[in-house]
Amino acid sequence: MTLKVGIPRALLYYYYLPLWRTFFEALGLEVVISRPTTKTILDAGLQNSGDDVCLPVRLAFGHVLDLKDRVDVLFLPRMVSIARREYICPKFLGFPDMVRHGISGLPPLIDPNLNLYRKDSLYPFFAALGRNFTSNRLAIYLAYRQAVYTQTRYVQLLEKGFFPEEALAVMYQGLTEGREPGGDGPTVAVIGHPYNIYDPYISMNLLSRLARNGVRVCSAENLPETLVREQAARLPKHLFWSLGQRMIGAAWHYLQSPGVDGIIHVASFACGPDSLTGELISREVKRRGKPFLNLTLDEHSAEAGVVTRLEAFLDMIERRQFLPARESV
């Protein structure tokens, strides 16, 4: 019987799923992904996590619970650092431990350290991960090579303008067309943590609401890493949060792009790095003068509040463009 590995559809799933999935499948394991977020999953997460962690982590608890009884092992990599001299949020670092102590009746957790703070190669991580399942070093190495290759293809799709779930659908469900070219409305850059903006339940269908209004949406994930880093390097001090760096670099790039009409920053309530990146972005926005909306999401968010702010934001862009017409009123 094939061993089933569970991967929660949360946190860095949106960045790394093809990398993990390809590696496991190449070693002959079956990958099970938790179901898309629903009220039940979120509620389960809220009930089983501590009060003092942020919404994305609490939601990730829900996804772990969704997988708990359906898999043989749970894969929760301990994400310490994904780039030299940079860190991932400490809540990610502690996530495997929070889960281990917060949820009972779990299948075995596999939580190898991923720490690229002082090195560049992912291989030691995969070598350690693979040893959990096989002692065949060659098989592990080949699986690692294949995983990196697939991940590169995924990143290329993102840079072509696909969003994570669309790119995954292209890769795994054989979708060819992916996203539609977009409407005739304004172009808006949505900047936020991937687990906030690409989870339709948490973002309250933000991306599809925009698309329904003919808005063309672009995000940080659509930009090449080098470009994002070039922009973020303009900060007076190196920002050591990798995710924040991506958000700031992307926001600054889009602020200078004449084709982008407005920027939405999506933050989660109780996220420390977000409060910092949000402020850095809004200061730069003030200098450049583009329509800007700061949306804060939490578990109490009512759809009405999001709808009102989005409507006003789109009106702001639209009425700015038709300024002469307004004078007649």
């Binding site: 629903t38 009220k39 039940t40 999953i41 339940y201 269908n205 609401r209 925009l210 329904r212 209004n213 809004s282 003068g289 329509p291 800007f292 804060t296 939490d298 109490h300 009405a304 509040g305 709808v307 009102t308 702010r309 989005l310 409507e311 006003a312 789109l314 009106d315 702001m316 009425r319 700015r320 300024l323 307004r326 004078e327 009123v329």
Partner: protein
């Protein structure tokens, strides 16, 4: 007479205005919603019909406020707009050149920054309703003074006391403390106004560039104490425009006129809807684990609108969308 109807269904008040074709506000009605938006709207329409000449033709209807979708269905709206855009449009039309709008309503407060007649930035209060009209209402009731007299009493103050305005709960206990120490009522009220203004400027107005002319609108603008506190905190003159308490409805009427400028017939259901039986009901959809609470509006027993479902299974089935967004 021909004109446009603007409807603002808010959490605390339901306002209707009738604007003639020249942009003059002919009638304005301010009612308390009292938790029953449909009844309040019907009552407003009934009163408006009574005040307008019999040959009045409604060329267009605009709705706004947190009850805008509901009002849009009941009255038959040509345009359904969020309250930020409506307030901005109303203020920039009635007070040309306005650069800052301070708006405090029953449950929400917002700041809107305009430059050259267009909105360039805005913010709304988040989950906290400290410093909105409801809190002032509640405190006036606790002190047993009519809310209408609140502002003028505050103006009598010579030495406002300092009250913590960060949170309505703390503000209340602070006020009780000051009252028990023997401070005069006007000084406490003026202190409360200052605390609420501080709270507003720190939360809603955080980081915004407040330039004159400054307009103060929404129901709380009736409170002269709040106006004075804003003027002192900002060091700027603060204008309270005519119709300050129905500005959302004025904006909705202006937007309706804009929408209908190209011609076409209004979707207005007529003043007769005041006598129609509307009912808002709902159910929990159990088709998926999201368990959406679906709202269902019926007219004389016939379902005319549904919303509240995430997937569109119910709202889409009637060919009606809750929102443009």
């Amino acid at each position: 007479m021909k004109g446009y109807l603007g409807i603002d269904v808010g959490s605390v008040s339901t306002n209707l205005v009738f604007m003639d074709e020249n942009g003059k506000i002919r009638e304005a009605i301010y009612l308390r919603t009292r938790g029953q938006p449909i009844c309040a709207l019907q009552e407003g329409l009934r009163q408006l019909a009574g005040r307008l000449p019999a040959n009045t033709a409604v060329r267009g209807v605009g709705t706004t406020g947190s009850g805008r979708f509901l009002a849009g269905i009941i009255a038959g709206a040509d345009v359904v707009k969020n309250e930020i855009t409506s307030h901005a449009v109303a203020a920039s039309t009635l007070v040309p050149g306005v650069q800052t709008i301070l708006e405090i309503g029953g449950q929400d407060s917002k700041i809107i920054i305009l430059r050259n007649g267009v909105v360039t930035d805005f913010a709304m209060n988040t989950v906290c309703a400290a410093g909105t009209g409801s809190f002032l209402d509640q405190q006036a009731a606790r002190l047993n003074i009519p809310i209408e007299e609140f502002g003028n009493l505050a103006l009598e103050s010579t030495v406002p006391v300092r009250i913590a305005g960060r949170c309505a709960v703390f503000a209340e206990s602070d006020m009780i403390h000051k009252q028990q120490m023997g401070y005069s009522l006007p000084d406490i009220l003026a202190g409360l106004c200052e605390a609420l203004v501080r709270n507003y400027l720190n939360n809603v107005g955080k980081g915004k560039e407040i330039l004159p002319p400054v307009v103060f609108q929404g129901g709380v603008a009736a409170n002269a104490g709040m106006r004075r506190a804003f003027e002192q905190a900002l060091g700027l003159e603060v204008h309270v425009p005519p119709h300050y308490n129905v500005m959302g409805a004025v904006g909705a009427a202006i937007l309706a006129r804009e929408k209908m400028a190209g011609g076409g017939t209004s979707r207005f259901r007529g003043f007769g809807v005041a006598e129609t039986r509307f009912k808002a009901g709902g159910f929990v959809c159990e088709n998926c684990p999201n368990l959406c609470e679906v709202v269902e509006i019926t007219r004389e027993g016939e379902v005319i609108a549904r919303w509240g479902d995430r997937c569109g299974r119910w709202s889409g089935s009637l060919g009606y969308q809750e929102s443009a967004v």
